[in-house]
């Protein structure tokens, strides 16, 4: 409570310097977290985060705020488990309440194929110490009695689910501000309204960036720009296995608490939760085409509504207040892409698709270690960008809203 009475400054305005040890392109969760851990863990404080708009303008501020670790490959489970654990302590670590609230996540199955997949997911999670259990229809009803088990009169009957009781929802913007504030306290510079226009190279290595505010020299440069990574890659003259698809979501008006769970359905490509403010947050699958347009489309709003009502009929009378769209940097295997690139001293954290928000702490921590030491941490070694070339894809069938 004392915190309320103390005068606080969270975010500061820094003067731009002509040189930094580390320049991070993109002031979203991933960029800011990497900056924070560089300063906190490795003592690298001469770091600038460059954001062309405002911090958190991209995917970090446009997701469904779910944190979970019930993934489907040993590599991703280890990674997201670490991130999930870090999230649970992040508020204390950064002295900023991210409103991380366990709600329990139900991943519904409406078909034999999904039943089998959800069973498989539970078994795999248990093998790696992640708490996920398979529930049959009766078990689902017990955990979430509001569900229409017929799925809208037999359209999508609910046959079972993978239940991940530690699944959380959070306040996404707080993650941005918390990392920004904590990293600035440690001396990191965060610059908003500065756009990177080029990557400077010398003798085959990256030596800095050019920006709308002039050139900046840097020891190492990292891209953490989410959906716009292909543009940055083009500046660096490298190719990444990434394409960008829009992803949409909306919230309803605010209502008294009526729903405590997070419900996701792989067959219906939809997830539903109620925020602490009382708004119902409904998201769906990526749009089936590549685009940078951040425009909401009516087919999304209409079809997500129809599917949401099929699962939770009481949603029918709630009113949609606000819809938005984000750009997702999709990788071919639905797993992230982190690490070195063909350009020396230029690193990427990308391929965050629809699964990036929950990965912010572990990605930041790992990328910071890579930038500081030049060595790829074991946790992210499988996620190297060139894995597709030699058939080491990390095929992730438990990513949300993708397939």
């Amino acid at each position: 409570m004392i915190g309320l009475l103390r005068k606080q400054v969270h975010l500061r305005t820094n003067d731009l310097k002509p040189h930094y040890d580390v320049v991070i392109i993109g002031g979203g969760g991933h960029g800011l977290a990497a900056a924070y851990y560089l300063a906190r863990v490795h003592g690298v404080r001469d770091v600038a985060v460059l954001e062309r708009s405002y911090i958190g303008a991209g995917g970090t501020g446009r997701n469904t705020t779910i944190v979970r670790s019930n993934y489907k490959t040993p590599e991703t489970i280890a990674f997201y488990k670490k991130s999930h654990q870090m999230f649970l302590e992040l508020g204390q670590e950064l002295d900023y309440n991210m409103l991380v609230t366990p709600r329990g996540l139900l991943w519904l199955a409406h078909s034999d194929n999904q039943l089998r997949l959800q069973r498989e997911r539970a078994a795999l999670n248990q093998a790696f110490d992640v708490e996920t259990v398979f529930l049959d229809a009766a078990g689902v009803r017990e955990v979430c009695p509001q569900l229409d088990m017929t799925g809208g009169g037999g359209k999508h009957p609910i046959l079972g689910a993978a239940w991940h009781p530690k699944g959380c929802i959070t306040r996404h913007d707080a993650v941005v501000w918390g990392y920004a504030a904590a990293s600035q306290r440690l001396g990191v510079h965060v610059h908003q309204g500065i756009e990177v226009t080029g990557i400077s190279t010398e003798g085959g290595r990256c030596v800095g960036v050019t920006t709308t505010a002039g050139p900046i020299a840097a020891g190492v440069v990292m891209s953490a720009v989410g959906g716009y990574v292909s543009n940055v890659a083009r500046m660096a003259k490298i190719r990444l296995p990434i394409i960008t698809h829009p992803l949409q979501a909306y919230v309803t008006e605010s209502y008294k608490p009526a729903f405590d769970r997070v419900v996701a359905s792989a067959d219906l490509h939809i997830y539903i939760s109620q925020s602490a403010r009382g708004e119902f947050l409904i998201g769906a699958e990526i749009d089936p085409y590549t685009s940078y347009a951040n425009a909401s489309t009516w087919p999304f709003i209409a079809s997500a509504s129809a599917r949401a009502i099929d699962l939770l009929p009481f949603l029918a009378k709630l009113r949609i207040l606000r819809a938005w769209t984000g750009a997702c940097d999709m990788s071919p295997d639905y797993s992230p892409v982190m690490g070195t690139t063909e350009l020396k001293n230029f690193y990427v954290s990308t391929g965050w698709g629809t699964w990036g928000f929950k990965a912010i702490p572990a990605s930041g921590l790992s990328m910071a270690e890579l930038l500081a030491t030049g060595k790829v941490p074991a946790l992210i070694a499988p996620f190297r960008a060139d894995r597709f070339r030699d058939d080491r894809a990390i095929s992730e069938r438990a990513s949300a809203g993708t397939h």
Binding site: G3, E120, G152, G154, Y255, G278, S305, A323, F388, S395
Partner: protein, 876 residues
């Protein structure tokens, strides 16, 4: 006398009443409690823009009382407050506001760790505007499409005039008005003109007028969904005129949220349209051109205006008998929950005038959300006050006529109010000017970040009241331009129910084969595979299984993907498409084929049958069929080849006749030669069965002699019945999916999607035989060449379990107690007497395992199919 029920008491109605006007007349002053501090709030804008009159009507929360026409029998209650909105315990939050500054939840509840979950529950309980309605029936609505030359959104003078001009010029016009026509107007010249223009428009043959129909947004398409009382109208216009008018600017000053503070148009509407004075003693502070009209209307309806603070430009024309303070400036409103006095400052000094209503007009802001949603390729122009607030009736008519021919009035930069100094900037979320100052001091220094941190503009009004003030605040701070830019306008422009948004959708798509009724009559339990219903079992799966293994059985396989390919380049196309050879496939031959994507990963599998000069007959899996057609067409276009594709999936039925006695059965129904010499395995030919022309395919998915009969869907029932009839002596039984899954598993055949993953190469699956790397090219070949030397980390294997128990599908495969893979298919094998499965294993220490365990059941990894490894039976 008609009435509505308000929290247990009857409230009388007069003609033209809204819920708000009826309640106000009956003495209700507190209409709601605010979101954060539970401040009592009363009527304010009366145009549907502010959040103050959100009430529950007939069980549905957050309805705007001012825009909800009163209907006899309605039940109305207020959403917020405990035990009631009139006396709300939670209003104590206002006294504790020093403990609840903007963003307080980000700064506290961190220690001890167990505190936040408790606080979360508390905050949730207090937040929220209304109860979720649980008992109201879901109304399924449909859509109604319009394709007008011109869509006009907004039925005021400008909108009606635009629509009328276009209609008179012979164009088809749809005009959508969110409320009732003229309903929000106080009366006078504007209302009269609305009525006369409307009458004229209704007489136009090509004009469609939609009332109480709110445009939700302008989307690509173009598509403008319009939420009407009957349908969700889908307008697909060639051009759009937006004439949504202006919203009266929210006035920010100390005490501005007290009950009894009114915006000018709201007070005038209450007086002019409903004949109710907003108060007995009214202080009036007006800066806008229409202030004098408001003043007149108020006085004509029984309000005593005790003081009017007017600028010099208006003061000279003020009605007589009103005390006018020229250049008087409203400083504050005083009172605890209701306004008791207004403080006005003038060159003569500052004075407090006691009053019970304070009417404020400080300016107008365009209601231009729709104009800020540009859609490429669609001409959208504004007309009337949305372009330039404060127009006269004649100006608005002109503006509408110009817009009708596509000429938009020039808009200047939107003028912003002065920076808010004190008072509530945001009524929805209880954000004061001081809160914005604090957030700014904490470092949240742009409109977008201020919005997210303080939640200003994020409430039910979506910024209608506060957006201009937020920008004015940020602009006054003098940062770079982007820090005071407008926040993004997001659809929907007006909140829309999920069920209304879902209009026209949510129908059950239930695809049935021609034999559906036959399956039901035979007692089949059906299962869904995508949109298709298929028989899972007819009741005795084991008997179905044995019928295939020992006798004869039939299965409806009509859901298989089936395509005819023809054209000059068909062979060349398939050579490029498939990793197997196609050119050497002579007429009458069949070949198993897998389809790869560019990554060399397996997409689908099926058969290729050559029809000679007539082209090819292709089959794919049931689940793949839908996507495969676009895949085929994509590649045909990419390569610019002359190939014609006919999707036969629905028109062609297919029945598989399987089992050692399958030939016995068919010979009873055909005179065509089907002996093993003339019709061996892996061939197809046209035969006549029970008088029905069929393409017969000798295939082997179940591991026994089997002949698939593809035929016209219209003959399916006749063929099915004939087969069952002729097979009676052979003890024929149809089999369903459950038996099929056991049969195919014994043969080790993969099911695409179930056994395969996104990165399943032919080599990992053991399907190298279907890939001919000596071909010059096929889709995926470059990728397979590239990875040929990298070796496999994962491999698909067959596992023979010990004992009769098969682990569940999806079980983890373990080696020495740790995870080494997963089981994708598993069943008990009746013919072998033990459990069998297929799944993926990884290398450990460089080696693939030779034995694994799944849920405690040990299993050996074996090579080749479990059943009839040499394939003698299916070649019999």
């Amino acid at each position: 006398m008609s009435s509505i029920e308000f929290e247990g008491r009857a409230v009388e109605l007069k003609p033209g009443d809204s819920v708000a006007s009826a309640l106000f007349r009956a003495g209700v002053r507190i209409f709601s409690r605010s979101f954060k501090f539970h401040r009592p709030r009363g009527l304010y804008c009366l145009t549907g823009d502010c959040p103050n009159c959100l009430v529950t009507v007939d069980g549905e929360p957050a309805m705007r009382a001012c825009c909800t026409p009163a209907q006899p029998g309605q039940r109305v209650r207020r959403d917020m407050g405990w035990p009631s909105a009139s006396f709300d315990v939670f209003s104590v939050f206002w006294l504790l506001r020093w403990l609840l500054p903007v963003g307080f939840y980000y700064k506290t509840f961190l220690h001890p760790r167990s505190l936040w979950p408790v606080m979360d529950k508390l905050i949730r309980r207090v937040a929220g505007l209304g109860e979720v309605p649980r008992d109201l029936p879901h109304v399924h609505r449909e859509t109604w499409h319009h394709h007008p030359d011109l869509l006009v959104i907004g039925g005021g003078v400008a909108g009606l005039s635009a629509a009328l001009a276009a209609a008179k010029a012979g164009q088809s016009v749809v005009l959508a008005e969110e409320h009732g026509f003229g309903e929000k107007l106080a009366g006078g010249e504007t209302k009269n003109r609305v009525q006369s223009l409307l009458a004229e428009l209704r007489a136009q043959p090509k004009a469609t007028v939609l009332e109480r129909a709110a445009a939700v947004g302008i989307f690509e398409g173009p598509l403008v969904p319009i939420d009407g009382p009957d349908f969700l109208h889908y307008a697909h216009p060639a051009r759009v005129v937006v004439a949504t008018g202006a919203v009266e600017r929210h006035a920010v000053f100390p005490g501005n949220d007290l009950i009894g503070v009114w915006l000018g148009r709201g007070a005038a509407r209450l007086a002019g349209a409903h004949g109710i004075a907003p108060g007995a003693r009214v202080v009036f502070a007006g800066d806008t051109a229409e202030s004098l009209e408001h003043l007149t209307v108020l006085r004509a309806n029984g309000a005593q205006v005790v003081l009017a603070a007017l600028p010099a430009s208006l003061a000279s024309r003020a009605p007589t008998g009103v005390r006018v303070v020229v250049g008087g400036k409203l400083v504050a409103a005083r009172g605890r929950s209701r306004v008791r006095a207004a403080v006005v400052e003038s060159p003569a000094g500052r004075e407090a005038i006691s009053c019970d209503a304070l009417v404020v007009s400080v300016g107008l802001d365009p209601r231009d959300g729709l104009l800020r949603q540009p859609v490429p390729g669609l001409a959208v122009v504004g007309a009337g006050e949305v372009v330039r607030p404060g127009m006269t009736v004649a100006e608005a008519e002109d503006s509408g006529r110009r817009a009708a021919v596509g000429r938009a009035d020039v808009t200047g930069d939107r003028d912003l109010p002065g920076a808010p100094q004190a008072g509530f900037v945001c009524l929805c979320e209880d954000i004061s000017a001081g809160d914005l100052e604090q957030a700014w001091a904490e470092g949240y220094r742009s409109t977008e970040i201020l919005k997210r941190y303080s939640t200003v503009t994020m409430g039910p009004c979506q910024g209608a009241m506060c957006h201009a003030h937020l920008r004015a605040f940020a602009k006054a701070k003098g940062g770079p331009t982007w820090t005071s830019g407008p926040t993004t306008a997001r659809p929907p422009i007006r909140p829309i129910r999920l069920e209304d948004a879902a209009a026209g959708l949510g129908h059950l798509i239930d695809m049935r084969t021609a034999l559906h009724e036959r399956h039901l009559a035979a007692g089949a339990a059906m299962e869904l595979a995508g949109p298709w219903s298929r028989p899972q079992t007819y009741g005795d799966t084991l008997a179905e299984y044995w019928a295939v293994r020992r006798g004869v059985s039939i299965m409806d396989v009509s859901t298989l993907g089936k395509f005819l390919l023809a054209g000059r380049d068909a062979t060349e196309f398939l050579e490029r498409l498939y990793p197997c050879h196609v050119r050497d496939l002579t007429e009458g031959r069949l070949r198993y084929a897998i389809a790869l994507n560019e990554g060399g990963y397996v997409l689908d599998d099926g058969l290729i049958g050559s029809l000679g000069t007539a082209g090819y007959y292709l089959t794919f899996t049931s689940s793949g069929a839908e996507g495969i057609e676009s895949w085929l067409r994509d590649w045909i276009e990419t390569w610019k080849l002359r190939v014609h594709v006919v999707n036969q999936t629905v028109p062609q039925g297919a029945i598989n006749v399987a089992g050692p006695r399958a030939r016995d059965l068919l010979q009873r129904l055909t005179r065509d030669a089907i002996d093993n010499q003339t019709f061996p395995y892996s061939r197809h030919k046209e035969i006549t069965v029970a008088g029905i022309t069929c393409r017969a395919l000798r295939v082997g998915f179940v591991g026994e002699l089997s002949i698939e009969l593809h035929h016209s869907r219209s003959d399916s029932v006749k063929l099915w019945d004939a087969l069952l009839e002729a097979g009676r002596e052979l003890d024929i039984k149809p089999h369903g999916m459950d038996a099929l899954r056991m049969l195919r598993l014994e043969k080790g055949h993969i099911l695409i999607g179930q056994d395969t993953d996104f990165d399943s190469t032919p080599a990992k699956l053991g399907l190298e035989f279907a890939v001919k790397m000596d071909k010059p090219y096929f889709i995926g070949k470059p990728a397979l060449q590239r990875i040929a030397s990298t070796g496999m980390e994962q491999k698909f294997v067959a596992v023979a379990f010990e004992g009769p128990k098969a682990p569940f599908e999806g079980a983890a495969l373990m080696l020495d107690g740790s995870h080494i893979g997963n089981l994708t298919s598993a069943r008990f094998s009746p013919v072998l007497g033990h459990g069998i499965g297929l799944g993926w294993v990884r290398r450990r220490n460089g080696q693939f395992p030779t034995a694994v365990e799944a849920v405690g059941v040990p299993g050996k990894i074996i090579h080749g199919p479990f059943y009839d490894p040499k394939g003698d039976k299916l070649r019999a």
